[in-house]
């Protein structure tokens, strides 16, 4: 996983554009009613940035996230991901792009129940359309990803044996496994307590700084957004501000400054929320 950081330095691709969006609009039809979720959004995100997208409910940030994550297509405008125009691709093509280029982290973790952490992390590898790996190689890569989030010792645990923070870390490892162009995190700390939230944000920051991984974070909480290097604010389907973070929060410093965790706050199996129920 450190290959990317080295590559960035060696080839001097510090200025490589991961996301290039021009005049993006999205219009939904609700019966006879038209909802303009995005009203012309343009932005550009470089490799290695840690961008937080924030805004109130209904601002269009979720719609933007869906399009950025290739889960949806814009009504008009263009979206170039890693230099390739993905705005008009068909469903199956979009699936392939998601598999290769994007690592998702969700608020609800969405891990498969009754499945080990290792198998959960491995899952994106099974859907590769090119260069499928054999099982020993898949295991190796999955262990590597778990090590990156310090969970290699719990690779055989099921989600119900892991705390919320640990589950989210497994989800982050899963997002990393296919070496995507970016991590797309949708309210990743929404179901975590304060301390665990800071820990998870610390992992994002570490991956971003040490390995040069591009992070696109969607959140409605301003204090979470401040962990990023750049904050883009949406309102009513438009970008109203896009600037470097004024006072950036550094998770590692904050954690060091916190008092030691109370016994009941030590990692324990989560009661919150249901991971993607798989039967």
């Amino acid at each position: 996983m450190t290959r990317r950081a080295d590559a960035v330095q060696e080839v001097g691709l510090a200025g490589k554009t991961v996301i290039e969006v021009k005049d993006l609009t999205k219009v939904y039809k609700m019966g006879e009613h038209e909802v303009r979720a995005l009203r012309g959004v343009s932005l550009s995100i470089q490799e290695g940035e840690f961008v937080a997208v924030t805004g109130p409910s209904g601002s269009g940030k979720s719609t933007f996230m869906h399009i950025a994550g290739c889960l949806d297509r814009p009504t008009s405008g263009t979206y170039q991901l890693d230099g390739r125009d993905v705005s008009r691709l068909q469903r199956d093509e979009l699936a392939r792009v998601r598999n290769q280029k994007i690592g998702f982290v969700f608020q609800g973790f969405n891990l498969l129940t009754r499945t080990t952490a290792l198998d959960n992390v491995e899952l994106p590898l099974l859907y590769r359309s090119v260069n499928a790996f054999k099982s020993s190689e898949r295991h190796r890569r999955a262990m590597e990803a778990l090590s990156a989030v310090n969970l290699q010792d719990r690779h055989h645990h099921m989600p119900n044996q892991l705390s919320g923070g640990q589950q989210q870390r497994v989800a982050i490892a899963r997002a990393l496994i296919n070496e995507p162009s970016m991590i797309l995190a949708d309210e990743p700390t929404g179901n975590l307590d304060t301390r665990t939230s800071i820990e998870v944000m610390g992992i994002f920051q570490r991956l971003n700084v040490e390995q040069g991984i591009t992070v696109l974070l969607i959140t409605h909480e301003m204090d979470i957004a401040e962990y990023g290097t750049r904050i883009i604010r949406f309102r009513d389907g438009r970008i109203v501000s896009d600037a470097k973070t004024a006072r950036r929060r550094v998770a590692s410093e904050e954690l060091a400054a916190l008092p030691p965790p109370e016994p009941d706050q030590a990692p324990a199996p989560a009661a919150q929320p249901e991971p993607a129920a798989a039967h």
Partner: protein, 405 residues
């Protein structure tokens, strides 16, 4: 994703809720077991009839006057349909035919002392014993001379002898009265029990056909002719040759209906087993209805499963599963349920038929193609009833699916 991988994922998914998987399979298991058990019983019954008919004689042909319709009922008796002894003689000359025996039947009362017994007296000739492969119990059969001279000699069936003379007594050379004539008993046939049609084969007596014709019944036409061939391969050629011969002898032009019927044992088997075959098909069909019910059960559970796993499906799509991947996964889950259920059903059906065979002494037989069909049908049920839920899963919108509660 490779098929093997999808198969493993399907098995894992089914293993997550073993009870539900087992209960869903139950429909298929019962359905297939029922079909297999019905087919086993029906095939066993058919095979038994076949066996009994084949025991009447090897490579035997029966020629009767009149035509036989599909139900085995003879129509067209009377003067317009007749067979004469010259017909039998002509058949005897055919190279494909090895043995021929004329048949003249009448009913008569046999009297010995104060015992009497009413039975059928079959007029035939010496080849009868060979054609029917019938062993003798006492004494001997009549000879060519007896036939030529229309001698008043008679061979008794085992049942007739017992009724006239008592059990275990050799009546050879005894004299009995048949109608108004005195007949000398030449011997007794070995016992063969009941025929496939249920008649007691030991309840008959045999005499030279010339004797029966001239002295007992007064008829000039034959009631039947039986013949046998050297080998099984000769049976059909012989049947064809006899048919052509009789067409010529009876002046039947091409296209005109026959006034006789030539039946091999195969033909008779087909006739007699028609009803058991029909019963078997009917029972299997009814049992097959439960297969449909089992399939509907699979579809129902798969639909529930798809709804429950909506977020999982959304997640899989988000990380790169295409519609086809999702469709295949759920389709295979359904096919695994139906195929494994079907296989267990076959084993269960086999067990039931063995149980019945052992305790009830009913014959059972499971033909190989029934098993192949059961396996194929089970898989097909899975594909057919699993397709709709699989397609539903594949056409989910990932965004909606991820939001699903």
């Amino acid at each position: 994703m490779s098929l093997l991988m999808t198969l493993r994922i399907a098995f894992k998914a089914l293993g997550r809720n073993k009870l539900r998987t087992a209960l869903t399979m139950l429909g298929m298991i019962i359905g297939v077991a029922a079909v297999i058990a019905m087919v086993a019983l029906g095939s066993g019954a058919t095979a038994t009839i076949e066996e009994q008919i084949k025991a009447q004689g090897t490579n035997m042909l029966t020629i009767t006057p009149g035509s036989v319709n599909a139900a085995g009922v003879r129509t067209g008796f009377g003067n317009s349909t007749k067979m004469i002894p010259e017909d039998a003689a002509a058949i005897r000359d055919l190279p494909q035919v090895e043995f021929v025996a004329e048949g003249v039947n009448t009913r008569a009362q046999l009297i010995y002392g104060n015992q009497n017994w009413s039975t059928t007296v079959q007029g035939t000739n010496v080849d009868w014993l060979t054609i029917r492969e019938w062993p003798m119990q006492y004494g001997a059969f009549f000879s060519e001379e007896d036939v030529k001279s229309a001698a008043k000699v008679i061979v008794l069936g085992a049942n007739v002898s017992t009724n006239l003379f008592g059990d275990g007594i050799d009546p050879t050379d005894q004299v009995i009265r048949v109608k108004n004539e005195l007949f000398r008993v030449l011997g007794v046939l070995g016992s063969k029990g009941n025929s496939a049609g249920g008649t007691n084969q030991d309840d008959q007596a045999l005499a030279p056909w010339t004797t029966v014709m001239k002295k007992l019944s007064g008829q000039i036409n034959l009631n039947n002719i039986i013949a046998s061939t050297r080998s099984a391969d000769d049976v059909q050629p012989a049947a064809d040759a006899i048919t052509d011969l009789l067409h010529t002898r009876h002046n039947i032009a091409n296209g005109d209906p026959d006034d006789f019927t030539v039946q091999s044992l195969e033909d008779i088997i087909a006739l007699r087993t028609q009803s058991t075959s029909t019963m078997t098909s009917l029972l299997a069909g009814i049992a097959g209805v439960s297969l449909v019910v089992g399939g509907i059960g699979i579809m129902n559970i798969m639909l529930v499963s798809v709804t429950e796993r909506t977020r999982e499906i959304g997640l899989r799509m988000a990380i790169g599963a295409r519609g086809y991947d999702v469709l295949l996964q759920f389709l295979i889950e359904a096919v695994v349920i139906s195929s494994v259920g079907g296989s267990i059903g076959i084993a269960t059906g086999y067990g039931v038929s063995e149980f019945v065979k052992y305790y009830q002494n009913w014959p059972t037989l499971i033909p190989i193609n029934a098993i192949i069909m059961a396996v194929g049908f089970s898989a097909a049920v899975g594909v057919f009833f699993g397709f709709y839920p699989a397609r539903k899963a594949a056409s989910l919108d990932p965004i909606e699916a991820l939001r699903f509660e």
